[in-house]
């Protein structure tokens, strides 16, 4: 990978919690238009990395480079304007709102006045409908999100990201363990969505534990251990490496 196609980089990125370095001097590059999996044993700092990238955790050292702009501070609500969106490992839906509203709410005007007097509701409904149909939740659109099964909840998070990404050209999509706890049929749905996103030229950062899925979906794999960079390369090579296997076994 040459430097020019890196759309997202971290430079010596560090994040500490009470003296523990959850992300430790991490410098990685994410290639544009590819699926990059970030793997590593539990506690290796993968989720902290997504939280830092999405502004939910502050940057303690180093920087994040997005579209060639070095950032020392990311505010969560700036994410879409950097062309980035994400799902959450611990599903975060708007529980007491209908499924449809969970998607619609990410599509509307960002300003107070814009949202108050918005007029293009039908257009947004079309986008939300497309996203919900892709994950098979359109029939559930009027039910509160809290009534969905665990798998459906994860799918709704993905629909939210799809809708936002389709409407706003958010071309970097962080998926934090999207397959965990899904039934095989749902796994198929999500993996075909990931492939479709890549085929559209979007950049997917996938955090995942399932090795078969990592082999199937990733163009590139980055391994983290104890917050640090451990290895990177093609899935087939990286997953065979002794230090990578030891990091997982030592868990």
């Amino acid at each position: 990978m040459t430097k020019t196609d890196a759309i997202l980089k971290t430079r010596n990125l560090t994040k500490q919690f009470d003296g523990v370095r959850a992300v430790d001097d991490l410098s990685i590059s994410i290639a544009k238009g590819k699926v990059t999996s970030v793997i590593g044993p539990n506690g290796s700092g993968k989720t902290t990395l997504t939280n830092v990238l999405s502004g939910l955790a502050s940057i303690d050292g180093g920087s994040v480079v997005l579209h060639s702009v070095a950032l020392k501070k990311i505010r969560p609500f700036d994410m879409p304007s950097y062309g980035m969106t994400r799902t959450f490992q611990e599903v975060r839906l708007f529980e007491q709102m209908p499924v449809l509203d969970n998607v619609l709410v990410v599509l509307t005007e960002r300003s107070v006045f814009g949202a108050l007097f918005e007029r293009h509701g039908a257009f947004h409904e079309k986008q939300a409908e497309e996203a919900l149909k892709k994950v098979g939740l359109w029939e559930k659109r009027n039910e509160p999100a809290s009534t969905l099964s665990y798998g459906q909840r994860k799918l709704l998070e993905i629909a939210r990201v799809l809708a936002l990404s389709a409407g706003r050209q958010t071309d970097i999509i962080l998926l934090d363990e999207p397959f965990a706890g899904l039934f095989p049929k749902m796994v198929k749905t999500v993996s075909s969505i990931v492939k479709a996103l890549r085929d559209e030229g979007r950049t997917v950062v996938l955090i995942e534990h399932n090795m078969d899925l990592i082999r199937e979906l990733s163009d590139h794999v980055i391994v983290m251990d104890s917050g640090k960079f451990l290895a990177e390369g093609r899935a087939a090579e990286v997953l065979e490496r002794r230090d990578v296997i030891e990091a997982y076994l030592g868990e």
């Binding site: 969106t85 007491q96 709410v105 949202a115 918005e118």
Partner: protein
């Protein structure tokens, strides 16, 4: 007849307060506990402008809305950085501050003496001095408040407010600077509360600080929790029930003085029972 008119007008004033507070507490999930402050600003604006300066009631109401919204803007700029229990405590603190301004800025408010002689509204030579006329006027403002609240609640803005209630961090990640949304709804809500305040001071023809204590804020909170959070209908029904309840107690054979004192105790019991058996309130779809 006058008695029924009196109760109806009070119900309307509290219904407007309930509607406005529900936008913040029910829809946005922020436990604002100082609503009486903005109710008071509206009431004092009308009392000062009409009684002392002879300004028309409707102009004074507009001024009250602006003053209250302005105060909410300043308070909200601080308040919108908080959420959860801290929001409740800080908003309560602001209520105490505004109350002490009413009590101590004697040059403006006459302090504990209050401002008497607030006139009834007049427009184009029509005086809304009789109870029936005033009731019609109050009902008009209730309808207006209801429509305004419904417009806000059903807009995309309203949907963002609900998502803030559900998970503020998550909605931020989708590009909303939630501080502005929390501030905006607080300002809108305060403006609506000022309408109720204007009506009160013109109706009672007198205003003093004792109407705008923290207890009053708690009473307004009780109305919407009883009626149902994020239910506009619930705000109105909540006002109806909690305002009329002490009156019903009086007809149940309690002496008048006792009934008045029992208001707080009884609505407290009512609320406890409701929270036990129907925590979302009468018409509420949501829990805080």
């Amino acid at each position: 007849m006058d008695y029924i008119l009196h109760l109806a007008i009070l119900v309307i004033i509290y219904a407007i307060l309930g509607l406005s507070l529900n936008l913040v507490v029910g829809y946005t999930g922020l436990l604002a506990s100082g609503h009486a402050a903005f109710y008071g600003i509206g009431a004092y604006a009308t009392a000062i402008l009409t009684a002392s300066l002879g300004v028309n009631f409707f102009v004074s109401m507009a001024a009250g809305i602006i003053a209250s919204a302005g105060a909410a803007f300043l308070i909200g700029a601080v308040l919108s950085r908080f959420d959860g229990d801290y929001y409740a405590l800080v908003s309560l603190g602001f209520n105490v501050i505004i109350y002490s301004v009413f009590l101590n800025w004697q040059g403006l408010t006459r302090g504990p003496l209050g401002i008497p002689g607030v006139p009834r509204p007049a427009l184009f030579g029509i005086e809304f001095s009789s109870g029936v006329f005033f009731l019609a006027l109050a009902a008009f403002f209730l309808a207006l408040s209801f429509l305004a609240a419904r417009f806000v609640a059903r807009s995309s803005f309203g949907r963002v407010l609900k998502s803030i209630r559900e998970d503020e961090k998550a909605i931020q990640v989708f590009g909303y600077n939630t501080v502005y949304f929390k501030l905006a709804i607080f300002v809108i809500s305060a403006g609506m509360a000022a309408v109720a305040g204007s009506l009160l001071s013109s109706y009672i023809t007198f205003v003093d600080p004792s109407s705008f204590t923290v207890m009053e804020s708690v009473f307004i909170l009780a109305i919407i929790i009883f009626g149902g959070l994020s239910s506009l209908k619930g705000s109105v029904v909540g006002a109806l029930v909690l305002v009329l309840l002490p009156e019903a107690l009086r007809f149940a054979g309690f002496p008048q003085s006792l009934a008045a004192q029992m208001r707080q105790g009884v609505y407290g019991l009512f609320l406890i029972a409701l929270m036990l058996y129907r925590p979302q309130g009468l018409f509420g779809e949501f829990k805080l």
